[in-house]
């Protein structure tokens, strides 16, 4: 039996050249992979072309003023989105700051032996479950739970620190703060999960060496582990930011949909995505073109944010990880 097998192996040879089927299989798989990769690029170009085609009349009509004006009035057919651009960026940045700090802290907590590994995995699963909650549910949770909780705090802040631009107005109900807080919770799973991976990728030797030098845990985390994982953490933050920029339903329910530019956390605002969500169903004619233009603006913002994130990520990689 074994002899037969041995013979067969000799006969065919362990180092035989690849058979025809294997060559065709490899070449086929190669083409298939390339086709898949290109189809994604083509798909994005196709989407851009479809949106762009419909946006062209509005682009010709409103031009650059679309980005600098502050009115969105269907009746007078005046369209401009500066308040929405402001609201999109402001709410996302606030969410990134709050959700980002929380997410990275959770990642440190879960990976640096603060708790038993089994308990940590339960925590991790819980945080990741947050990603499975539908946007509408977050919106409802914001209306029924978060806003009532936030109201007394906001009232107190406005009363005592009203001179500070962030607390300038009273919180009526929906507004920037509840929207950004809910956004922060929504980006938390993305930020935390990728940050955990970033910390896990740090070689055990680095940690051992750090402690071997006699550092305290805080020093190890802040001076060695955070810089080492920084490119991964940045990737987490960029992805979280991207998610915050495009979030629609929860924001349409919580931000107040008011065309205002204000630094105050408690005044209502609007975002590009929620403008589109609330206007599309009944839009017609010029309004659809203007909405397509707004969609292009949002795409461009997301694109620039990702490019910027990539650039910063490479800078930090070079600085801390000595990569090519």
């Amino acid at each position: 039996m074994s002899r037969a097998l041995f013979k067969q192996k000799i006969g065919k040879g362990i180092t035989r050249p690849p058979g025809n089927s294997e060559i065709y299989g490899d070449v086929g798989f190669r083409f298939f992979s390339i086709a898949c990769a290109w189809s994604i690029i083509l798909l994005i170009l196709f989407i851009l072309w479809m949106i762009g085609k419909q946006a062209i009349p509005a682009m010709e009509k409103y031009g650059f003023g679309f980005l600098t004006g502050t009115t969105w009035d269907v009746n007078k057919q005046e369209f401009a989105v500066l308040p929405e651009i402001w609201g999109t960026l402001y709410s996302s940045i606030l969410a990134l700051i709050w959700g980002g700090i929380l997410g990275v802290t959770i990642a440190i907590f879960l990976t640096q032996e603060f708790i038993h590994a089994k308990v940590a995995s339960v925590f991790r699963l819980t945080v990741e479950l947050l990603a499975a909650i539908p946007s509408v549910v977050y919106g409802l949770w914001g209306i029924y739970v978060l806003i009532p909780l936030l109201r007394p705090v906001a009232h107190w802040l406005h009363e005592h620190f009203g001179w500070f631009p962030f607390f300038e107005t009273e919180l009526g109900g929906p507004g920037m703060a509840p929207a950004a807080l809910v956004l922060a919770v929504m980006i938390l799973p993305t930020v935390a999960a990728i940050s955990v991976d970033a910390f896990r990728q740090i070689p055990a030797k680095v940690k051992e060496a750090t402690y071997g030098m006699g550092t305290t845990r805080a020093e190890a985390i802040f001076k060695v582990l955070l810089p080492t994982a920084s490119s991964g953490l940045l990737a987490a933050l960029v992805l979280g930011f991207g998610r915050a920029l495009g979030e629609t339903m929860a924001l349409a329910m919580l931000i107040g949909n008011s065309n205002q530019i204000s630094l105050s956390w408690f005044s209502p605002a609007n975002t590009l995505a929620s403008l589109m969500a609330s206007s599309f169903p009944e839009a017609g004619g010029v309004e659809v073109q203007a909405l397509m233009y707004a969609a292009l603006v949002l795409l461009l913002i997301t694109f620039l944010v990702n490019l910027g994130g990539l650039y910063i990520q490479q800078l930090t990689m070079r600085k801390f990880e000595g990569s090519k």
Binding site: I143, G172, P174, Q260, S279, P281, E282
Partner: protein
Amino acid sequence: MITACSGGSSDGQSGTDSSAGNGENVQLNGSGASFPFPIYSKWFKDFSRKESGIRVDYQAKGSGAGIQDFVNGVVDFAASDAAMKEEEIAKVQKGVILLPMTAGEVVMAYNLEGVTELKLPRDVYPEIFLGKIDRWNDPKIAAANPGVELPDTKITVVTRSDSSGTSYVFTGHLSAVNADFKSAVGQAKAPNWPNSANFVKAPKNDGIAAQIKQTPGAIGYVEYGFAKLTGLPVAQLENKSGAFVSPGPEAGIAALASAKFPEGNLPGTEIPNLIVWVTDPEGANAYPIASFTWLLVYADQDDQKAAAMQKLVEYMLSDEAQDQADSLGYIPLPQNVRAKVREAAQHIQ
């Protein structure tokens, strides 16, 4: 998109059906206003059950979207709270019949702890929605409500974030009552509300209702049915003859009674024009903000569908159907209006 496909396929179906010569399985697809959706869906379900062989499907996409579908010919009928504009009517080659089917009131719901009765005079409520009166203890509100303890809080005004027939009716009334409102905001499905920190917007009727319920000091406008459903307190409004009236079926019927239908026909047709607005009704008992909502039907269509459509309209006008209006928060059509609608429905061919 979905209606486009299903509308198309059902067209094909009924085509083969009629050539085969049997009168079974007619499908009517409609889309449009979300305001009458609760009562329409009930009517359509009851009707489909009674008339085996006719199926009615309706998608509440909003009045504007309904009119677009109707103009593009992808549905068999549509519904709109804002009727149709003349240029929209002109675009429909098959001809349009506009039939008032039911009516509703737009109410101002509010959230003030301990205040169960609130009277709002004619010179006050437009100013609230202009942002000129922005605190609850404003002397003008206090003067109309002696004995009511009004809190020293900011008024949060909740309006619609989406385009809506309800907004059209509501701003139509405010424009009729207040000249400043007319020039600053005007009547529109998506009005340009003042940009003030105390104005917030919420999607759909239920979004506004939820927002009011959760926000102390809020006021907003919703359909009467939604206020009734959610148990929100609603303000009494001062009408043209100076009386403060609560919304309800009697006050609604009194408002509709003052509607004067136009004499003529729809432009270029024999079909009576049933587009009428009661922007500021007369009568001591009339609630000031009421409006019909219309069913849009093609004048000229497939014979089988026309027959089904006529049966449907007949059912919607029947006592059985109209008597359900009250319990669902709508105003039943007065008998004289039903007679007019029946007459106009004869033109469905």
